[in-house]
Symmetry: C2
Amino acid sequence: MPSFLDTTDADFEASFSALLTAKREDSPDVDDTVAAIIADVRARGDEAVIELTSKFDRLDLTPETLAFSPDEIDAECAKVDAEDRAALELAAERIRAYHVRQIPEDQSWTDPEGATLGWRWTPVSAAGLYVPGGLASYPSSVLMNAIPAKVAGVERLAICAPTPDGVCNPLVLLAARLSGVETIYRIGGAQAIAALAYGTATIKPVDKITGPGNAFVAAAKRRVFGKVGIDMIAGPSEILVIADKNNDPDWIAVDLLSQAEHDESAQSLLITDDAAFGRAVADAVEKRLETLERRAIAGASWRDFGAVITVRDLDEAAELSNRIAPEHLELCVDDPDALSEKITHAGAIFLGQWTPEAIGDYIGGPNHVLPTARSARFSSGLSVMDFVKRTTLAKMTPQALRAIGPAAERLAISESLEAHGLSVRARLDRLNEGAE
Amino acid sequence: MPSFLDTTDADFEASFSALLTAKREDSPDVDDTVAAIIADVRARGDEAVIELTSKFDRLDLTPETLAFSPDEIDAECAKVDAEDRAALELAAERIRAYHVRQIPEDQSWTDPEGATLGWRWTPVSAAGLYVPGGLASYPSSVLMNAIPAKVAGVERLAICAPTPDGVCNPLVLLAARLSGVETIYRIGGAQAIAALAYGTATIKPVDKITGPGNAFVAAAKRRVFGKVGIDMIAGPSEILVIADKNNDPDWIAVDLLSQAEHDESAQSLLITDDAAFGRAVADAVEKRLETLERRAIAGASWRDFGAVITVRDLDEAAELSNRIAPEHLELCVDDPDALSEKITHAGAIFLGQWTPEAIGDYIGGPNHVLPTARSARFSSGLSVMDFVKRTTLAKMTPQALRAIGPAAERLAISESLEAHGLSVRARLDRLNEGAE
């Protein structure tokens, strides 16, 4: 059974706070192992990567077979049936159309003092995308990571996708191809992250690494951060559904289960202004759990971390939602747009009962890589912005320097940074000479 | 003596690579100490913060005196002389005018299938700004951190600024007031970061922490990352000047020294297409070092990490600059705008000989918190964007779901995520019933 909370309960605040701070994930401490793997790859390059792949993935590679050849990619892509291919193509097209709108604009202007100011955006030169192997090898994640990078203008994009026992997912290769990725290495784990960050004889280093992974991959990303850029470290997935009684309980139940089935540590929450509706949804969840393929995982998640919260009204629902700062937020209410205006912290909002969260996972257009564990309070989902950076620009004229230079000199002196002041003073003196 | 390199030298590539990878900073490993301090502040709150402040800053506080009172701030601000105040006000005004242009726009559109898509930006609710005490207590940094936060719409902004032995910098308090910051705590170190991240009885927790600090502060920021957002971990400052012979060697010399004087680990580089000019600048540096107040620091930085690189032409200069990805880049050449177009990685560019980098430190308008240690390859300086986050929006209609839902269901099935598919299928079935 999930938790049942009601804001009119005397102990609501304590129960809700406990829900907010519950630790859902046991991350094993693999940091020492990962440090050793990174040091090994830095020292021995391809040789280390090949050895570790043999050990962990039971796959024997050579420098020549580290990456899939174009023919191999062709052959794998040919295995994908027409309907899956069409679905992937439609998703790629829609994700691209959404992300193209995120390309930021350069600016330049001249102020009244004559200073020209502005900034310019440039893409990261090379990015690496990690794609997990096995069960969590999701072609949709390839699209969600690679397309924003390509839209940003990243010139070189490499994928690392482990193929344990040599088994690969043709849909992953097709997704890579549809996204414009040419190089796909069949390596994984901390060794793949180390190779992307530091390079080997065969694998060129990149400037930014994104993509989900297990505890080893996450620890390796934390360690190489600074040497390269990384995206967020994602925690288990979460959904919050705010629903009034004018919904089919079964629809809301499958929406909740669509997060619960990801992972036993996932969290599915329902907030409703109708206690009877909340119970109906909980009943519908149990009914769906009887037959769901992943009922063991989804059931554990719902039992351990699920909750149904009854509120007095939708304003209270918005307040609680903002304290939760959910990764995914469904607003299944009569006027979802009005309720949405009250939401200040959420990774992605799905408006109205015709927008199940799964649409956003695959095909809506927005990115499905979103801030978890309440980090939507301060961070955003993956976007084109993660693959560009801003260079600020400033150009003084003699007139502009005369207008604002003395204040800079004054501040430099107040901070005891004499040379800063002198660099302005030397130029102002020349101007004064010229004026005499 | 700094290094002298020439791209026509046989060993240039080796020398340049060594320059790129030289480790300039010895970060002491204070991680265990910092972990203990954070745990202590989490467990004992104000009591721990007060004890640690007494121990490290020789200052005895109570919960009531942790923050400056408005009267105390008034009294300190009154000590600032009129000229310093005017300089600070001009700087604040110019920084605000620049950053206001960074406020990102919301978007919303409806696509041909009838899906409404878009995103909305919202500010972080509360931010904390760290301001170092002692020598590196820079009022300009208060402006550079606080103004973007205020422009972003952050409601609550707190400063932690240690005051060892009770000594505070009136300019820091005035800068805070000019930036719209009301709460200023006189605490520092890892205990201040822990208090901002986790809160105490007196100190409310924030969602994002920015600002420079020593090794303890940096380690604490790394540790609380995830619980709150942080800005970058800044390394020692750097400048690269690209200058042709049509410059006054003394101007370029003081520009180089304006970074070197920050820190013995700072790095000042000159690239020129005229070897004689390079030598003239090096001579001018030596001459300025004879009298510079911070000659011990600046001299050590220039001797250990400075370099003069002679190139064949300015195209080669741009190529080397892009490999360096400098924090600050001055382009002192005849056509700085044309050269700037060739620069793909730099934190900030200063165009032409009338734009010494110090203008950007104080008063130009762009932010002076910039990516160091080659991280301009993948990251940007501080901006309004660091204090806002994006919520993506998607709203399907029945018609839109009918158009794109089947592809989402298909992809869900291909990823073995049955409930994802069911959440779409349940709705499509209803639509089909209605259509019959």
